[in-house]
Symmetry: C2
Subunit: 204 residues, 2 copies
DNA sequence: GGCGAAGCTAAGCAAGCGCTTAGCGAAGCG
DNA sequence: CGCTTCGCTAAGCGCTTGCTTAGCTTCGCC
């Protein structure tokens, strides 16, 4: 936690670990489709055709459409948490918060398709799969709560309602996934703006 | 604009104007269903059974499932805009902003089922219907932008990036619809917290 | 008291859904 | 070579979907 920054504002979100290539094409096709239309409105035929395959080929690599969603959701949640943890660096709680909000916001813009699946398709997961990503979600929330709490402890940040303010800071970044498109500014600039706004929310 | 406050933080969201009563039961049932599962995952049979009717009865009152969504979305958008306009009162831009964010946030919590439909089911509307609610959405955005702009003009608010900050302020309130449930605090308290946070974001 | 309109239901239709089955060709390997 | 495994397709199964049709009852109204 809050060690040396590994420098990247957004972690490179690659899928090379998904093998074979056809499984990866199905996965990235599913991300696009789920982000565009939502899980329920996306058909297995649509996902398969984006990957250039017949509908049945999907089931060679994934046992169900829901499982495809789960793989995306789990990996997306983990990537978001990793970004937050990597950004937890700086000498003061204020600096750490700034760095985390900047990176988390930029990630939601840069990877807004995955972020949309992560944030808005939870209801389509099975209870077991939902429970698994919920664990990661709690870690994400805890990461923000910790830095705010540290700031309260050393008197450098002003936070009246800790859980409420934690949620608000997270909300700011998360909602980026809802409205962001590439023509609405670049992720890095957005990250800087939101980091500034978040810091102002809690400064003494 | 920014006249005398009509006093309510959340406008009473009633559907008495929807006649007959069966049409109203279908509408409120659809709101609950759409908010719970999303438009695509909701069946006409589910909506009808929530209203205590057979599936065919839906088509006596509405020509399609999408039309039902549109009626909800249009009325919900208008109600949200009305809340913002009623709250645009106060002697300074800072006071007006506080009042608007407080009311807008509280509305999204109080009416989180309708708000979820309003904010997250736009993709299911026909292009024509989407265009109609988009007009109301622009008015909502303009309402916030105006007060920030007034604050910049008289030097009472510090806003670097006007469109970006407008979006951020709106985001804060809108995202409430995503996570709010009644057990997470009462809408009025949430409104006050968020009003405070928003004001801090732009104070000189 | 006859009659049309309003509000509803039972039944069902065509289309599309997630997913399965059967089988084919290419690659890997003894 | 002979045989298995892997990745894939064509076809289609059982089911659910949004919506329609035909017909029933209840009501107001002249």
């Amino acid at each position: 936690m809050h060690g040396v920054n590994v420098s990247a504002i957004t972690s490179p979100l690659v899928w090379e670990h998904v093998q074979p290539a056809a499984a990866r094409r199905l996965l990235t096709g599913a991300i696009d489709a789920f982000a565009e239309r939502g899980f329920q409105a996306t058909t297995t035929r649509d996902i398969a055709s984006r990957a250039g395959m017949s509908p049945a080929a999907l089931y060679v690599h994934y046992p169900s459409k829901e499982r495809l969603l789960f793989e995306i959701s789990r990996y997306g949640h983990q990537a978001a948490l990793d970004v937050l943890r990597d950004a937890d660096s700086g000498d003061s709680p204020a600096e750490r918060l700034r760095s985390m909000v900047e990176a988390f916001t930029a990630w939601h813009a840069e990877h807004h398709t995955i972020a949309r699946v992560v944030q808005y398709e939870l209801a389509a997961l099975t209870p077991e799969h939902l429970a698994e990503v919920a664990t990661i979600r709690r870690a994400i929330s805890a990461q923000i709560e910790q830095v705010l709490s540290d700031g309260v402890a050393d008197g450098s940040l002003a936070v009246d309602d800790l859980p409420g303010t934690t949620l608000a800071v997270l909300s700011l970044s998360i909602d980026v996934a809802r409205w962001y498109t590439p023509h609405r500014g670049d992720p890095a600039a957005l990250g800087k703006l939101y980091a500034e706004l978040a810091q102002r929310m809690v400064q003494t």
